[in-house]
């Protein structure tokens, strides 16, 4: 059995009213922000199912935007996020959809700017979240671990090249998730780590040939 923690039961300190629909929304926004890792001109939020139906009363829209703007789950400004100066510097839009193939609390982030990016995730309960998709690639990370995300050309040896660098730093890999579009075309790698990557190793990883995108998404503090 995975070892549970009593601290999880008496935290987080958060802005209400719902761990899945408010805190979870903020955390999804924070992760999407870190994946995008740039200042967008515009963000479109697509809320699905329960998020679409009850999001209004739970402040889900506010939570998602707050996360994208970098506010933490316990930031009391979330309530008035639409009035914040940060919110006025970007364009944003909310769409409300039904799709029963998606999780009840699913959301898409469509970032437009110097880089365009699609990020999708689910709020799976008790404030826990999962990012499921980046552009056309399926990924899986929760913000509980420091995570390395790579999009690269599908060539032999890529996984071992990356994991060797991590191994040399004596960092344990908690999970590894790979996906590809088609043989020889774009592929993705999502590595959740027990330790931390420093600037030096990130530089080395960035130096690997055939990489299109490298993101190091730090674990969420709350």
């Amino acid at each position: 059995m995975a070892q549970s923690s009593f601290i999880d039961i008496i935290t987080p300190i958060m802005v209400g009213p719902s761990s899945s629909h408010t805190a979870g929304a903020v955390r999804l926004g924070l992760l999407a922000r870190n994946v995008y890792d740039a200042k967008p001109h515009k963000v479109t939020f697509r809320l699905y199912n329960s998020y679409a139906q009850t999001g209004f009363g739970h402040g889900t829209d506010k939570g998602l935007l707050a996360g994208v703007l970098g506010l933490a789950v316990d930031d009391v400004r979330i309530k008035h996020v639409f009035d914040l100066p940060e919110a006025k510097q970007i364009a944003y839009e909310f769409e409300y959809l039904e799709d029963f193939n998606r999780h009840p609390n699913a959301v898409d982030f469509i970032f437009e700017g110097d880089l365009n990016m699609f990020v999708a995730g689910d709020s799976i309960g008790a404030g826990e979240v999962v990012i499921r998709k980046i552009n056309e690639f399926s990924v899986k990370f929760t913000g509980k671990f420091n995570t390395l995300l790579l999009v690269y050309r599908d060539v032999p040896g890529m996984i071992s090249r990356v994991t060797k660098l991590i191994q040399e730093r004596n960092i344990n890999i908690a999970s590894l998730h790979c996906d590809r579009y088609a043989k020889g075309e774009e592929a993705s790698m999502c590595i959740c780590l027990d330790g931390e990557l420093d600037e030096k190793i990130l530089k080395l990883i960035e130096g690997i040939e055939n990489l299109y995108l490298v993101r190091y998404v730090k674990k969420l503090e709350h």
């Binding site: 059995m1 070892q3 549970s4 923690s5 009593f6 601290i7 999880d8 039961i9 008496i10 935290t11 987080p12 300190i13 958060m14 802005v15 209400g16 009213p17 719902s18 761990s19 408010t22 805190a23 329960s50 139906q53 009850t54 209004f56 009363g57 739970h58 402040g59 506010k62 316990d74 009391v76 979330i78 309530k79 009840p104 309960g125 008790a126 404030g127």
Partner: protein
Amino acid sequence: MIEKDINSFEQLFNACKIANVAIYKVAQTREAYLSEKTEDEVRQIVKKSLDAMKEAIKTGLNSNELSLSGMCGADCERLQNRFKKKNAVFGKTFEKITTYALATSEENLRMGKIVACPTAGSCGIVPSVLIAISEDFNITEEKQINALIIAGEVGRIISNKVALAGAVAGCQAECGVASAMSAGAAAYLLGGSTRQILNAVALAMKNLLGLTCDPVCGLVEIPCVKRNPFLAVHAITAVELALADIESKIPLDEIIDALEQTGKLMSPTLKESSQAGLAKTKTAIALENKLFKK
């Protein structure tokens, strides 16, 4: 040597007995060991939650701002006004427990800062019981932290078997578990032995089995907000019985098995999906039409 591998209440009880220490000590030692922190660091995290609980009560007692939906938010003020004019039949501590629970719960729905304990919808129960009793019985902060650790440990062991989410097992797993956690904390604060503390948890939990999650309009408001003071007071009944050495005939671990089974058998329409129960009453449907009309 304190046992670290604890996944049931029987194991917890035995660990306390063998090492001859209190529940909070076993729990904090285990937590420190597994999270690679010192026990003092663990207690600091607990203190942060405790402080945030007190802050939420303070803020909530002074607000009557309505929720985003406009359905709830002014009841704590009403209750305080009554107690200003007339003492509660059950005394000062009862007044505090009920008002603190409402204050926290209402603070949650107006997007204020609260501690999910174990969840946001049940956030008023543990703080109201723990803090009201601590104030009225002059309990030191150190002991309050111990009590919150006990509450957390009770929730943790239950969560090993049942996810603490209305969507998984109904309200019995949210407000119900919060009430059981509170009973454990309060029994400790009032001088209960390890056996009495776990009996208080058992009695509180046993009497909430089957509680469904049928929120009106799918929002954490009706019946969630008022359920908080109800189940906070429920915990006190369990504590009084347990401190009188009245034992639950069904052992606590078996009650948790029953909780899990009841959650599995509960219709999905009554598990946070708002498809039955209170959520589909005539008035609830009218509220829904009013709230979600385009």
